[in-house]
């Protein structure tokens, strides 16, 4: 036990010696969460939209004003012929063009039916869908208004909406838990993935191997200091999301911290596993960063909902731990549900952690090659 403690102390000294790394270590998560909470959003705001208005009457003016004052769109330019559509879209000056045909207002009022085209730039499918949906909703609103003015018709069924969990529709609620999850796993895995390879590359591994420490002790000794650091990291992250984004913790804080500890332990032991199979630090960093970064960001449900992926991808996503942790932290922080709603996810994370630790111990080579 005393030996083990000595080893842990050595690891602590190694870490605190490199002051620059420590600063980066604590700076990265905070900086990244602040940046993304403010910057990133999947929604469309102020999208440039161009009008091709061949009718130019009172009604089309009203519609285009209504569209541009909705907050979703900004008037880009008025174009005057069909040939210009390709030009503005290709140059990227507008994300969509709304086309009113000849006699739009006349057709609508006396004929009862007029048609409008929304031509969106499909090279960005996400914006294109949102833009057409929002424009369609605004047009439908306009028809309802028109009906009550001209047709004197009141709608029998009226609806009242409640936006649960996130009444102000803040993008943070989606992005902050996602960034926390991604940044934690990558940072923890990066930290430990170089520790053992570093000793291998510099030759200090020999010293460790001839010492009476067992592989299990070496691995736990390597994990321990980082576990401590990462836990401080988690607390700073949570404080930041609380103070800067007023992201609530509606559920139990103790549960949240316990789940975070589990997730940190998982990420650290994953890093250790990488470092036991890598020969050089370059290789370990390559596996963690290039190999893991995109899949963890993209298959975790952080930006792209897993339900929308093609068949079979739920199985692929199931092997990436962030998926479960995102569910857990959204449940505890935003929905305020208890352990009973997340025990399955917790169990899976725990099983993965055990798997990584066992594999690392088994892969740990006590002989030099």
């Amino acid at each position: 036990m005393k030996r083990f403690l000595g080893f842990v102390k050595k690891e602590f000294l190694h870490i605190f010696r490199d002051f620059r790394t420590l600063i980066i270590l604590f700076g990265i998560p905070v900086a990244e969460i602040v940046i993304f909470g403010y910057v990133v959003s999947t929604d469309v705001r102020d999208a440039n939209i161009a009008f091709l208005d061949l009718s130019k009457d009172e009604i089309t003016n009203k519609i285009s004003d209504k569209i541009c004052s909705s907050g979703f769109f900004r008037r880009a330019e008025d174009i005057h012929s069909y040939d210009d559509i390709d030009r503005v879209l290709k140059a990227g000056n507008a994300k969509a063009v709304i086309v009113f045909g000849d006699n739009f207002g006349h057709d609508l009022i006396s004929g009862g039916n007029a048609s409008v085209s929304i031509i969106a730039d499909g090279s960005e499918p996400n914006s294109a869908t949102l833009i057409t949906s929002y424009a369609t909703a605004i047009l439908a609103d306009f028809t309802t208004e028109l009906n009550s003015i001209y047709g004197n018709i009141n709608l029998p069924v009226q609806s009242e909406v409640r936006m649960l969990y996130n009444p102000e529709l803040k993008g943070h609620f989606m992005f902050v838990p996602g960034v926390i999850t991604i940044v934690l796993i990558l940072i923890c895995a990066l930290m430990t993935s170089v520790t053992i390879t570093r000793e291998k590359e510099f030759g200090t591994m020999e010293v460790l191997l001839v010492s009476p420490l067992k592989p299990v002790q070496i691995i736990f000794g390597k994990v321990m200091p980082y576990f401590f650091l990462s836990f401080i990291n988690v607390i700073t992250i949570l404080l930041f999301s609380w103070f800067v984004f007023s992201l609530p913790v509606k559920g139990s804080i103790a549960l949240l911290l316990a789940e975070s500890m589990l997730y940190i332990l998982l990420s650290l032991s994953f890093g250790i596993l990488i470092s036991t199979v890598s020969k050089t630090m370059q290789q370990a960093i390559f596996i963690t960063l290039i190999g893991m970064m995109l899949p963890t960001i993209l298959l975790s449900g952080f930006i792209f909902p897993i339900e929308n992926m093609p068949k079979g991808y739920d199985w692929v996503a199931a092997i990436f731990p962030p998926k479960y942790f995102i569910v857990i932290i959204k449940n505890i922080m935003i929905k305020g549900t208890g352990f009973i709603y997340i025990w399955k996810e917790t169990l899976i994370l725990a099983a993965m952690t055990v798997f990584f630790i066992v594999m690392s111990v088994r892969n740990f080579k006590i002989r030099l090659q």
Partner: protein, 372 residues
């Protein structure tokens, strides 16, 4: 010139000496593109809807059947208890709850407004707004039918209606793969080049071999160019592999000029490598550079407009983003590949990349001290 060639040869040998890295720089992009590109879609599949029907009349049932017939909703549960519905939402079993109160049909009959309550899981604000808009659309149709039924068909046709035609240009079917492939490819090429080039230089520092170079008459810019060149070649090869995969596996259209795309990508790669070498002059260990790379790669990726629309970022962020080379590459890739834009359409992006490339490479050369 001879010196540079020898140095470049040395770099190539060093990169491919590690068998794992030598294979992974080509294998990882292939695997990740094949795996990730088909998975990424924002397309809203059916929204799971839970109905609380307290009315149980033909009127309420006709609204429900209209909802289940729409392409946007799947009615997964019907219940009469609000508590149960809320528990379902807590469990992620449904994302929308429609509450039809007991006096629903009575009010419609009396001509009074019949209120329905809709609760939306709004953690993802965007999907929440979309599904709410779709639900509203169905309610509107239901209303129109009711009005038409009450007043007889004659007056219903005189109710003004706007019919909307949606067209998506350059990508008729809104195929997300066309959009994602250039993005994923760009990220992979960036990440590999940035990480390996920087690590390479820092490693020489850490192991001490940089001193051996420093005592030779090799000029500073020779050394930096030799560090860049192999990764430029590797990046371009990765790009070519990626495009072949795009053509074969995903049938991506190439509207524009491939030469233009490679020209732009080469400038882009020089910019990225220049940045990497510049940052590596600040790091004394591979571990430090690894964290620096991690920090910037995540920012480059998430602020690039690949996964989230560029325009939805605040204006100040868009301004800062001018120095993010990935933003320019994304625009160029999409415009050239999907829209067939010519040089004049993307000249702004290309000039920005040239400025970034020159600035950071020059900074890297200046910051690199042979005496340190």
């Amino acid at each position: 010139m001879r010196t540079i060639l020898y140095l470049i040869r040395k770099e190539f040998i060093q990169i491919f000496r590690n068998k794992f890295i030598g294979r992974a720089i080509f294998a990882v992009p292939i695997v990740q593109m094949l795996l990730l590109v088909p998975a990424l879609t924002f397309e809203l599949k059916k929204v799971n809807l839970c109905v609380i029907d307290r009315d149980m009349t033909p009127e309420s049932r006709s609204l429900i059947s209209q909802l289940s017939g729409s392409t946007f909703f799947r009615i997964t549960h019907t219940t009469s208890s609000e508590k149960e519905a809320l528990a379902l939402m807590n469990n992620n079993k449904c994302d929308l709850i429609l509450h039809l109160p007991g006096e629903f049909s009575k009010n419609i009959g009396k001509g009074e407004p019949a209120k329905v309550m809709v609760s939306v899981n709004a953690i993802n604000a965007v999907t929440a707004q979309l599904s709410w808009a779709y639900l509203n659309g169905v309610l509107r149709d239901y209303n129109m039918n009711l009005v038409a039924g009450n007043a007889g068909m004659a007056s219903a046709s005189s109710v003004p209606r706007i019919s909307i035609v949606n067209r998506y240009w350059y990508n008729e079917m809104l195929n997300y793969k066309y959009y994602m492939l250039p993005g994923i490819l760009g990220i992979l090429v960036t990440a590999i080049g940035f990480l390996l080039a920087g690590l390479n230089l820092v490693r020489e520092k850490e192991i001490g071999t940089i001193e051996q170079i420093n005592v030779t008459p090799v000029r500073k810019h020779h050394f930096i160019i030799a560090k860049m060149f192999p990764f430029l070649v590797i990046g371009l090869i990765d790009l070519a592999i990626g495009m072949v995969i795009g053509k074969i596996a995903f049938d991506i259209p190439f509207e524009g000029s491939i030469a233009l795309l490679f020209l732009a990508s080469s400038i882009f790669l020089i910019a990225v490598l220049g940045l990497a070498l510049f940052f590596s002059t600040f790091s004394s260990s591979q571990q430090q550079f690894m964290f620096v790379a991690f920090f910037f790669l995540i920012i480059f990726i998430l602020m690039s407009g690949i996964f989230t629309p560029f325009e939805s970022m605040p204006v100040w962020a868009q301004k800062i983003d001018i120095i993010n080379p990935v933003v320019h590459l994304m625009k160029i890739n999409r415009m050239v590949m999907l829209k067939g834009s010519a040089f004049s359409d993307i000249s702004r992006e290309i000039y920005s990349l040239i400025i970034i490339a020159i600035a950071f490479t020059a900074l890297a050369v200046v910051r690199y001290r042979k005496t340190a």
